[in-house]
Symmetry: C2
Subunit: 99 residues, 2 copies
């Protein structure tokens, strides 16, 4: 199953990367640092539907975790998510340099 993680990274969409990128830039990488979903949404240009889709996808991939309280849903980027983002950005840079 060594090829599974790179395969999942290769399936990340631009929307997924946008969400991961915001969480990473803000260093929202632990439960106690988690921020409201709608605050992340407001920093993107995504529609609510596309944002929801990326949240579902990233949670299934274990790249974000959702922290549910009575009042709100907060999210943060996991260690797997940070590695996935870094590897994906490195790949993009390599592809760009080859152009």
């Amino acid at each position: 199953m060594n090829n599974y993680f790179p395969y999942i990274i290769s399936k990340l969409t631009i929307d997924d990367m946008t969400v991961l990128g915001i969480l990473s830039d803000l260093q929202v990488n632990a439960v106690f640092k988690s921020i409201k979903k709608k605050d992340v949404l407001s920093k993107t240009h995504l529609t609510e539907a596309n944002f929801r889709k990326s949240i579902y996808r990233l949670e299934a991939n274990g790249f974000i975790e959702i922290v549910k309280t009575d009042k709100e849903h907060k999210i943060y980027i996991t260690e797997f998510g940070q590695i996935a983002l870094n590897e994906s950005l490195n790949e993009e840079e390599e592809q760009w340099l080859e152009l």
Copy 2:
């Protein structure tokens, strides 16, 4: 990253397993065998919203593939999806036997 695949399997929901189980039972495991999403939905007791969520999740996990044509979206279970389903069912059986 050896621990990534088991981690993802441990995060599968009952809804996810239901969808994978139907595709596996019907041996819908290749592009040319893919069937319409709504035909899968009709075989479950899931709401449309929960079904859509599982489709998003399973596609992100690479456990199903979506085949898009002009008219409709069809799906099939991938090899990763079949392995995930089998391992998940084995774990459940072991837990049950331990009770």
